[in-house]
Subunit: 570 residues, 2 copies
């Protein structure tokens, strides 16, 4: 492609709308433009990258035995009502009516549609297993669309759905998808890690996320520095060390005056103790019911773990002035000892090992010291409720957990019978008995993957594309107003193009500086520069975008050398 003809409006300035680097670079490199928050047009350069990623994923899916189809964007309300998710999705789902007043939504995901599609066609165990996928636009009305296409409202996904006779079959289908994902991301030239994940609103028994590690990621992932363990912090657990004071004798609880000392930080300073000697008491409304949650004072609550345990849709912190009425207590001085009767108390596992600890006394300006769980108060259940921290011990080995930021680009779920049960998707087994179809669901955020690739591989001058998903592999820069240069550039352009290499020829009437900057910005893996001086030497100057390595290539062997360099770039 000749750049003089290409619709490639690059920008020098950083657009003010863009918070993160991938968003800035995609706008500056002329890859996309914003229609409105979270809704974008992909310009030719950007769309080439998207289509390359689509094709790599398509290939991996086809090779795994999955079959491509295409489901609608507009969904009838009835199917979502059948599964019970019409209301559960909340304002994330865009709803509308047609001219006859019938209700629809824009598909945020397709479990309902695919289950409806197959339930009338799958009759027998002989029709299974089956895996169907699509590459389709989805719409979710995010409350805060941001970071460009990292979290858009309209975005492209690959979603696949597996159907098996039983859970053993599901395990196999799940593993096939897991492997296909690993392959697809590798083929894209990206470093992606699979981590254990929470199943969230999708339901089901097991799930993994595929994470691109990058500072701009919205997700936190815990990795063991010793073994393979890796999990989204939402789900990650850690081994619990015995506290240093484990062997202490239990003392008798005692009330102390702690005027206006409300936070853990204040109380530890005031009483001159470590935070791990205090009990953090959190007051929550779980779907409206007041509960008390206890943690070691140096831990943070993982709300997802709590919500999962309670099967709660909504957790809400109790506002200060409701403490007296709901808990017979005061904000800042709440604790499990003597709390209002009937309040459910849940505690993190670490709380069980606490000794002679400090808690609020449920009296204004007073705390209790020497409080001991089991002796001074009882809890409904001890469970893993804490958010793992950098340096925690791995739950599987002696290693330590490291927390890194990641961008979720894929998510696979063992759904089990969640949808087949609510929507009646059954098959006849070998004995002619009706059984529920066992399902899995597998997504890749294709547009998000573009942004994640940029977040992972870039420098201060622009994008650094892996060759496999680069919009073009080579960019040729003829420099100066020189007919011989122009002709030679054309010849090389033609030779490479004819041999199947995707080449941009920067034939614009621009200064060398502009051409160099744009080439770096749009991130083409290999740059070939041709000027009158290089021609005198009988060479073109090649430069690898990723490493900065420079190589002079003789004019009579450009194609062979280019092929060789490209092969070794990633």
């Amino acid at each position: 492609m000749k750049m003089s003809k290409m619709y490639l409006p690059t920008l020098k300035e950083v657009p003010s709308e863009a918070e993160v680097l991938s968003h800035q670079y995609m706008l500056r490199a002329g890859m996309m433009r914003t229609l409105t928050a979270g809704v974008y047009s992909y310009l030719p350069l950007g769309y080439r990258v998207i289509r390359k990623i689509e094709n790599i994923i398509r290939k991996a899916m086809d090779e795994s035995g999955a079959q491509e189809l295409l489901m609608p964007i507009m969904h009838t309300a009835e199917l979502w009502q059948e599964s019970g998710r019409w209301d559960r999705f909340g304002p994330l789902m865009i709803k509308f009516q047609d001219r006859k007043g019938r209700e629809y939504c824009l598909g945020p995901t397709h479990e309902e549609i695919i289950t409806d599609l197959v339930r009338d066609e799958i009759r027998s165990y002989k029709d299974l297993p089956l895996n169907l996928y699509q590459i389709q636009t989805k719409v979710r009305d995010e409350i805060r669309p941001r970071f460009g296409i990292m979290r858009g409202r309209e975005f492209i996904m690959k979603d696949a759905y597996s159907f098996d006779t039983d859970y053993e079959g599901l395990d196999k289908s799940y593993q096939l998808m897991y492997d296909a994902y690993v392959k697809a991301f590798k083929d894209c030239g990206l470093e992606v890690r699979a981590v254990e994940a929470d199943s969230g609103a999708m339901g089901g028994s097991a799930s993994h996320e595929f994470m691109v590690l990058a500072d701009a990621g919205e997700d936190e992932v815990a990795f063991c520095n010793n073994c393979d363990y890796a999990a989204n912090v939402e789900r990650a657990g850690a081994a619990i060390a015995d506290p240093a004071f484990e062997k202490e004798e239990m003392a008798a609880a005692e009330k102390v005056y702690t005027p206006a000392q409300k936070t853990i930080a204040e109380i530890t300073e005031y009483l001159n103790v470590n935070a791990d000697r205090t009990i953090k008491s959190l007051a929550f409304l779980a779907d409206g019911e007041p509960i008390l949650v206890l943690l070691s004072g140096d831990d943070e609550l993982n709300e997802i773990k709590l919500a999962n345990y309670l099967n709660a849709v909504e957790l809400e912190a109790v506002v200060e002035d409701k403490f007296p009425e709901m808990y017979n207590s005061f904000a800042g001085f709440i604790g499990p000892v003597g709390i209002k009767e009937g309040i459910r108390i849940l505690a993190d596992l670490r709380v069980k090992n606490l000794k002679n600890a400090i808690t609020g006394a449920n009296e204004k300006d007073y705390h209790l010291i020497n409080v001991n769980p089991g002796k001074d108060f009882e809890v409904e259940d001890y469970l893993d409720l804490r958010k793992v921290k950098d340096g925690d011990q791995c739950p599987h080995c002696e290693g330590q957990l490291e927390i890194k930021a990641g961008i979720e680009v894929g998510h696979i779920f063992k759904l089990g019978s969640k949808y087949s049960e609510s929507m009646g998707a059954r098959y006849l087994d070998e004995n002619g008995r009706e059984q529920l179809i066992i399902m899995g669901s597998y997504g890749i955020g294709i547009t998000r993957l573009v942004a994640a690739a940029i977040e992972q591989q870039h420098d201060e001058n622009g994008i650094i594309w892996p060759t496999a998903i680069a919009p073009y592999q080579v960019i040729i820069l003829p420099l100066g107003n020189n007919d011989e240069v122009t002709t030679r550039a054309e010849v090389i352009y033609q030779e490479l193009t004819d041999n199947g290499i995707e080449v941009l020829l920067d034939d614009r009437q621009e200064r060398a500086g502009v051409k160099f900057n744009d080439a770096d910005l749009i991130g083409i893996p290999l740059r070939l520069t041709i000027g009158s001086r290089s021609l005198e030497k009988g060479v073109v100057e090649a430069r690898v975008r990723k490493t900065g390595e420079e190589i002079n290539i003789k004019l009579d062997s450009v194609y062979e050398k280019v092929i060789g360099i490209l092969k070794n770039i990633d």
Copy 2:
């Protein structure tokens, strides 16, 4: 692909929801399923055809110099308000609000979005010409979605938009697209005719439709049997022959008693004259204003021509009991002579040549005979208002027009400055002066094309795919429970597949009859049958779907022969 693994639910019965043959066949062949009226899921077999057509069109577009991008499905109301089409599209456009109450629509077409996209980036004449296209899902809430994907509510289109400095440039861009369309349809293996068309709601100066000729088509097309002239009947004109009675002397108008003779048919029988001697007077409300339209009694009104002349959004026939008040007349006896003053009268060109004609007398049960235009009444304008008929003379030559049914699969428009003016899309010319960008718009209905292909090429047993868009080129049917047959079928399947031919292997445990029927139904161009008897003879039996031609192929030359046959099928 092995059919035992493929998600290919064929049906024996004709589904009751399907009116036209293409719809029936697509459902029966397991190509698609209905979610709700006009909204479909495309199953693997159907989606393969769609993707083949997409790729053929993509290639033709790329070769023409157009560049692919992707615009959003959800559009902001503001842009459509800017162009003035937010209201004009009416209930065809699906509108909704996001969680913040902002208004959007689902894109029924993308002129507004593309104009907005380029208006900030195209600065100079050097940035032009430009042609941008996308392959994207569009949504139009058709009042009567029907005929399957021929007129769906959610459908896939290729739409392209050209941008030029002037009308000369537009002519070139338009011709490039015209040629690309001719090539793309030809490459699909379809017989498609370009015809002159009405520009309709798109606006602009010229347009062509690309028509697949097929009986099920909703459009009528007039073709000259002598020259190249072809036009949508909505737009088609015809040469007007002088009437046989042209030389007659004008007689004096005279009132005659015609009790209860209201229609042209009644009056011609009652007075024993030919219909071409009568004037058909039609009473319409044009955007609310009563007008009178005159035609020769043997002609039908082309409402599109009338609406275009009047620039009217809505034409509505006047109801009977409004005739006295609005026209001082009576339904069935209305005519131009003595009609209420101030009523606009428009007449078809053929009316001008009428002599001693018959019209209503604007009096109950009376007509006038010997009425002469110009002498007995005046009209505001004579213009082409009639619908051309089979046998009319071509407007360009001595040939005769034939009317055929067609399916519109493509439509190209010279938009001119319609959108660049309303939305302010300008560039600086060579003299630094601001000029309006001149635009064109070019669409192909991809999903409709699938149905049109089936309407054009099928028989009573099923679909007959052109090789280029067939989901698979070859289907292999091993017959009978015979290990040697199974093994041989596998070997041939592997050989053909390895050589890049797309092959279906019907390895299902089904009777021969079922396999033959399904192979015919899904329309694979070449069928290879292998049974124990054919193996004894050392051959496989090849059958060409289109012609029924049968060829025995020796087992040692299957690949070479198959390649040869496939090349010669279309």
